[in-house]
């Protein structure tokens, strides 16, 4: 079965989605990620969707689920690299991804996660926007 790889980087888990998602693949990712958070005691999850050209209501819901589940497991989730066309479409579709933190790229996402777990000063917090 096809799977999306999850990499461990220090206290964080890193997922780069390089293929266009279909429902089962997204569900498998949700499952794998939550198991990994529990197994590795990760403090943060970073999901890079810069190569994803379509996010519909189902995949949007999966992203929201991952964020909520991780939060319950004491890990923060950041979704990075959303293509502008995808963002425009998501909002028009009616999906606001409330509760999901976002950043423009992996670097900013990592910094956001580091801030979240308090390894850095919180001075730079203003740089990051949540997806409203």
């Amino acid at each position: 079965m096809e799977r999306i790889p999850i990499l461990k980087m220090g206290p964080f888990l890193l997922v780069t989605i390089q293929v266009d998602l279909y429902d089962r693949l997204a569900l498998t990712l949700e499952n794998d990620l939550i198991n990994m958070v529990s197994k590795t005691e990760a403090k943060g999850v970073l999901i890079d969707i810069s190569a994803v050209s379509i996010v519909d209501s189902f995949m949007g819901r999966i992203l929201g689920n991952i964020a909520s589940m991780s939060k319950i497991m004491d890990a923060a989730t950041v979704v990075v690299g959303m293509q502008p066309a995808v963002a425009i479409t998501l909002v028009e579709l009616g999906l606001t991804l409330a509760g999901v933190h976002t950043a423009l790229d992996v670097e900013q996402g990592m910094e956001l996660l580091r801030n979240k777990i308090g390894q850095l000063d919180t001075d730079e917090e203003g740089l990051y926007d949540s997806f409203i």
């Binding site: 266009d20 279909y22 429902d23 089962r24 050209s53 379509i54 996010v55 519909d56 209501s57 189902f58 949007g60 819901r61 293509q83 502008p84 066309a85 995808v86 425009i88 479409t89 028009e92 579709l93 009616g94 999906l95």
Partner: protein, 137 residues
Amino acid sequence: MIVLSKEKLSIQKEQDVVLFRNRIKELATKIGMSLVNQTKLITAASELVRNMLRYGGGGITQLEIVSKNSIPGVRLVFADEGPGIKDVTLAMKDGYSTGKSLGLGLPGAKRLVNEFDIKSEPGKGTTVTIIRWKNGL
């Protein structure tokens, strides 16, 4: 309205959806549709094809390049022979779902395209037709 090209694709399993989305992208690119409009069209199609698989048990999609007043567009038809929708007006409301979803599929898809038509008869199936024009707002 003139039909410039027409093809059919059967959707029976989730993996067919990926192929279907790619084919729409090819057609939309061919008529020079902008990336944002392409994304909206494909996202709407993704919602509708999921409904077709989940509630209609799969079905047949028709992909066409059409032209009206020399403006090209992509028309997609989703036809299933599933149980149909009892109350179409209710199904078109935001947040209504008989499944466990967010209930954004149908109303969301409608917002993402220029023309949207749904016909459903309980016991006979559902047919949804959408059009996104090349320069449509």
